[in-house]
Amino acid sequence: QQQVKQSPQSLIVQKGGISIINCAYENTAFDYFPWYQQFPGKGPALLIAIRPDVSEKKEGRFTISFNKSAKQFSLHIMDSQPGDSATYFCAASASSGGYNKLIFGAGTRLAVHP
Protein backbone atom coordinates (compact mmCIF):
# COMPACT_ATOMS: atom_id res chain seq x y z
CA GLN A 1 0.00 0.00 0.00
CA GLN A 2 3.03 2.22 0.36
CA GLN A 3 4.09 1.74 -3.25
CA VAL A 4 4.00 4.21 -6.07
CA LYS A 5 3.98 2.50 -9.48
CA GLN A 6 5.49 4.43 -12.38
CA SER A 7 5.43 3.80 -16.12
CA PRO A 8 6.99 3.61 -18.61
CA GLN A 9 10.52 2.67 -17.56
CA SER A 10 11.96 4.50 -20.53
CA LEU A 11 10.62 6.92 -23.11
CA ILE A 12 11.98 8.29 -26.37
CA VAL A 13 10.40 11.44 -27.76
CA GLN A 14 11.25 13.65 -30.70
CA LYS A 15 12.09 17.29 -30.07
CA GLY A 16 8.88 19.30 -29.90
CA GLY A 17 6.78 16.29 -28.94
CA ILE A 18 4.82 15.59 -25.76
CA SER A 19 6.30 13.35 -23.06
CA ILE A 20 3.81 11.62 -20.77
CA ILE A 21 4.75 9.69 -17.63
CA ASN A 22 2.17 7.98 -15.43
CA CYS A 23 2.01 7.02 -11.77
CA ALA A 24 -0.48 5.16 -9.62
CA TYR A 25 -0.80 4.79 -5.87
CA GLU A 26 -2.90 2.86 -3.36
CA ASN A 27 -2.57 4.72 -0.06
CA THR A 28 -5.46 7.18 0.19
CA ALA A 29 -3.62 9.00 2.98
CA PHE A 30 -1.17 10.40 0.43
CA ASP A 31 -1.79 14.11 0.08
CA TYR A 32 1.23 15.49 -1.73
CA PHE A 33 2.47 14.35 -5.14
CA PRO A 34 5.73 15.82 -6.43
CA TRP A 35 7.73 15.06 -9.53
CA TYR A 36 11.50 15.09 -9.41
CA GLN A 37 14.01 15.42 -12.25
CA GLN A 38 17.41 13.82 -11.96
CA PHE A 39 20.42 14.33 -14.23
CA PRO A 40 23.37 11.91 -14.16
CA GLY A 41 25.63 12.51 -11.18
CA LYS A 42 23.14 14.82 -9.49
CA GLY A 43 20.54 14.42 -6.80
CA PRO A 44 16.83 14.60 -7.71
CA ALA A 45 15.48 18.15 -7.99
CA LEU A 46 11.87 19.14 -7.39
CA LEU A 47 10.18 19.93 -10.70
CA ILE A 48 6.50 20.42 -9.90
CA ALA A 49 4.05 19.19 -7.26
CA ILE A 50 0.31 18.93 -6.71
CA ARG A 51 -2.11 18.37 -3.86
CA PRO A 52 -5.30 16.32 -4.33
CA ASP A 53 -7.65 19.30 -4.04
CA VAL A 54 -6.86 20.27 -7.65
CA SER A 55 -6.99 18.19 -10.83
CA GLU A 56 -4.27 19.95 -12.78
CA LYS A 57 -1.26 22.17 -12.21
CA LYS A 58 0.81 23.81 -14.91
CA GLU A 59 4.24 25.42 -14.68
CA GLY A 60 5.67 26.44 -18.01
CA ARG A 61 5.94 23.36 -20.23
CA PHE A 62 5.29 20.98 -17.33
CA THR A 63 1.77 19.91 -16.29
CA ILE A 64 0.59 17.48 -13.63
CA SER A 65 -2.81 15.88 -14.14
CA PHE A 66 -4.35 14.30 -11.06
CA ASN A 67 -7.25 11.82 -10.90
CA LYS A 68 -8.17 11.28 -7.27
CA SER A 69 -10.86 8.66 -7.89
CA ALA A 70 -8.51 6.55 -10.02
CA LYS A 71 -5.57 7.23 -7.70
CA GLN A 72 -3.42 8.18 -10.65
CA PHE A 73 -1.37 11.18 -11.63
CA SER A 74 0.75 12.00 -14.64
CA LEU A 75 3.41 14.40 -15.84
CA HIS A 76 3.11 15.98 -19.27
CA ILE A 77 6.09 17.75 -20.81
CA MET A 78 4.99 19.88 -23.74
CA ASP A 79 7.36 20.87 -26.55
CA SER A 80 9.99 18.43 -25.21
CA GLN A 81 13.58 19.59 -25.63
CA PRO A 82 16.90 17.67 -25.63
CA GLY A 83 17.72 19.43 -22.35
CA ASP A 84 14.75 17.62 -20.79
CA SER A 85 16.57 14.30 -21.22
CA ALA A 86 16.83 13.01 -17.66
CA THR A 87 15.27 10.51 -15.28
CA TYR A 88 11.92 11.54 -13.82
CA PHE A 89 10.54 10.24 -10.54
CA CYS A 90 7.04 10.59 -9.22
CA ALA A 91 6.60 10.49 -5.48
CA ALA A 92 3.93 10.69 -2.80
CA SER A 93 3.77 11.51 0.86
CA ALA A 94 1.25 11.68 3.67
CA SER A 95 1.32 14.65 6.02
CA SER A 96 -0.62 12.81 8.72
CA GLY A 97 1.71 12.22 11.61
CA GLY A 98 3.67 15.26 10.47
CA TYR A 99 6.62 13.36 9.11
CA ASN A 100 6.23 13.86 5.35
CA LYS A 101 8.13 10.77 4.19
CA LEU A 102 8.42 10.65 0.40
CA ILE A 103 7.80 7.34 -1.38
CA PHE A 104 9.33 7.31 -4.86
CA GLY A 105 8.39 5.51 -8.04
CA ALA A 106 11.02 3.51 -9.91
CA GLY A 107 11.74 6.29 -12.39
CA THR A 108 11.37 6.94 -16.13
CA ARG A 109 14.41 7.59 -18.28
CA LEU A 110 13.44 10.17 -20.89
CA ALA A 111 15.47 10.74 -24.02
CA VAL A 112 14.49 13.62 -26.30
CA HIS A 113 16.01 13.29 -29.75
CA PRO A 114 16.80 16.39 -31.84
Binding site: V4, Q6, Y32, P34, G41, K42, G43, P44, A45, L46, A49, F89, A91, S93, S95, G98, Y99, N100, K101, L102, I103, F104, G105, A106, G107
Partner: protein, 115 residues
Protein backbone atom coordinates in the same frame (compact mmCIF):
# COMPACT_ATOMS: atom_id res chain seq x y z
CA UNK B 1 21.02 29.65 -0.29
CA UNK B 2 23.66 26.96 -0.17
CA UNK B 3 22.50 23.48 -1.06
CA UNK B 4 22.83 20.18 0.76
CA UNK B 5 26.50 19.23 0.94
CA UNK B 6 27.65 15.62 0.87
CA UNK B 7 31.05 13.99 0.96
CA UNK B 8 32.79 12.07 -0.37
CA UNK B 9 31.38 12.03 -3.90
CA UNK B 10 32.72 8.58 -4.65
CA UNK B 11 33.94 5.68 -2.55
CA UNK B 12 35.19 2.22 -3.49
CA UNK B 13 35.67 -0.33 -0.73
CA UNK B 14 36.01 -4.07 -0.41
CA UNK B 15 33.22 -6.12 1.11
CA UNK B 16 33.34 -6.39 4.88
CA UNK B 17 35.09 -3.03 5.16
CA UNK B 18 33.44 -0.04 6.82
CA UNK B 19 32.55 3.33 5.27
CA UNK B 20 31.05 6.61 6.44
CA UNK B 21 29.23 9.36 4.58
CA UNK B 22 28.75 12.93 5.71
CA UNK B 23 25.91 15.37 5.09
CA UNK B 24 25.47 19.06 5.87
CA UNK B 25 21.85 20.14 5.30
CA UNK B 26 20.55 23.55 4.33
CA UNK B 27 20.77 25.96 7.24
CA UNK B 28 17.55 26.03 9.23
CA UNK B 29 16.20 22.76 7.85
CA UNK B 30 15.13 20.70 10.83
CA UNK B 31 14.36 17.50 8.96
CA UNK B 32 17.12 15.39 7.40
CA UNK B 33 16.76 12.23 5.36
CA UNK B 34 19.12 9.57 4.10
CA UNK B 35 17.99 7.73 0.97
CA UNK B 36 19.57 4.78 -0.84
CA UNK B 37 19.30 4.78 -4.63
CA UNK B 38 20.28 1.52 -6.31
CA UNK B 39 21.07 1.83 -10.02
CA UNK B 40 17.89 1.93 -12.07
CA UNK B 41 15.59 2.34 -9.06
CA UNK B 42 13.93 5.17 -7.21
CA UNK B 43 15.36 6.45 -3.93
CA UNK B 44 14.41 4.46 -0.84
CA UNK B 45 14.26 6.10 2.59
CA UNK B 46 16.73 4.68 5.09
CA UNK B 47 16.31 7.07 8.01
CA UNK B 48 14.64 10.36 8.85
CA UNK B 49 15.72 12.80 11.57
CA UNK B 50 13.69 15.60 13.10
CA UNK B 51 16.33 17.88 14.61
CA UNK B 52 18.64 15.29 16.23
CA UNK B 53 15.96 12.68 16.95
CA UNK B 54 15.13 9.68 14.75
CA UNK B 55 11.49 9.63 13.58
CA UNK B 56 11.68 6.77 11.04
CA UNK B 57 14.35 4.13 10.63
CA UNK B 58 12.06 1.27 9.71
CA UNK B 59 13.98 0.45 6.50
CA UNK B 60 17.47 0.88 7.90
CA UNK B 61 19.37 -2.45 8.08
CA UNK B 62 20.35 -1.88 11.67
CA UNK B 63 22.71 -4.85 11.86
CA UNK B 64 25.11 -3.01 9.57
CA UNK B 65 23.91 0.56 9.07
CA UNK B 66 23.96 3.33 11.65
CA UNK B 67 23.33 7.05 11.48
CA UNK B 68 23.52 10.01 13.78
CA UNK B 69 22.78 13.69 13.60
CA UNK B 70 24.86 15.73 15.95
CA UNK B 71 23.35 18.91 17.45
CA UNK B 72 20.54 18.76 14.89
CA UNK B 73 22.77 19.84 12.01
CA UNK B 74 25.33 17.58 10.28
CA UNK B 75 24.72 13.88 9.91
CA UNK B 76 26.82 10.79 9.25
CA UNK B 77 25.71 7.45 7.83
CA UNK B 78 27.93 4.43 8.47
CA UNK B 79 27.99 0.95 7.00
CA UNK B 80 29.91 -1.75 8.82
CA UNK B 81 30.54 -4.32 7.41
CA UNK B 82 29.64 -3.52 3.81
CA UNK B 83 28.11 -6.07 1.46
CA UNK B 84 28.14 -6.16 -2.32
CA UNK B 85 24.43 -5.25 -2.40
CA UNK B 86 25.18 -1.99 -0.60
CA UNK B 87 26.57 -0.60 -3.86
CA UNK B 88 24.35 2.41 -4.52
CA UNK B 89 24.16 6.17 -4.39
CA UNK B 90 23.46 7.46 -0.89
CA UNK B 91 21.46 10.67 -1.01
CA UNK B 92 21.00 13.12 1.81
CA UNK B 93 18.06 15.52 1.74
CA UNK B 94 16.68 18.18 4.04
CA UNK B 95 13.40 20.05 4.43
CA UNK B 96 11.83 22.75 6.55
CA UNK B 97 10.02 21.66 9.67
CA UNK B 98 6.65 23.25 8.97
CA UNK B 99 3.05 22.11 8.66
CA UNK B 100 2.34 20.97 5.17
CA UNK B 101 5.05 19.99 2.78
CA UNK B 102 7.42 22.15 0.83
CA UNK B 103 9.60 19.59 -0.84
CA UNK B 104 12.98 18.15 -0.14
CA UNK B 105 16.30 19.48 -1.33
CA UNK B 106 18.69 16.68 -2.21
CA UNK B 107 22.45 16.68 -2.23
CA UNK B 108 24.38 15.22 -5.17
CA UNK B 109 24.94 11.98 -3.28
CA UNK B 110 27.82 9.63 -2.55
CA UNK B 111 28.31 6.81 -5.04
CA UNK B 112 29.46 3.70 -3.16
CA UNK B 113 30.93 0.72 -4.96
CA UNK B 114 31.56 -2.42 -2.91
CA UNK B 115 33.89 -4.92 -4.60
Amino acid sequence: EAGVAQSPRYKIIEKRQSVAFWCNPISGHATLYWYQQILGQGPKLLIQFQNNGVVDDSQLPKDRFSAERLKGVDSTLKIQPAKLEDSAVYLCASSLDMPGFYGYTFGSGTRLTVV
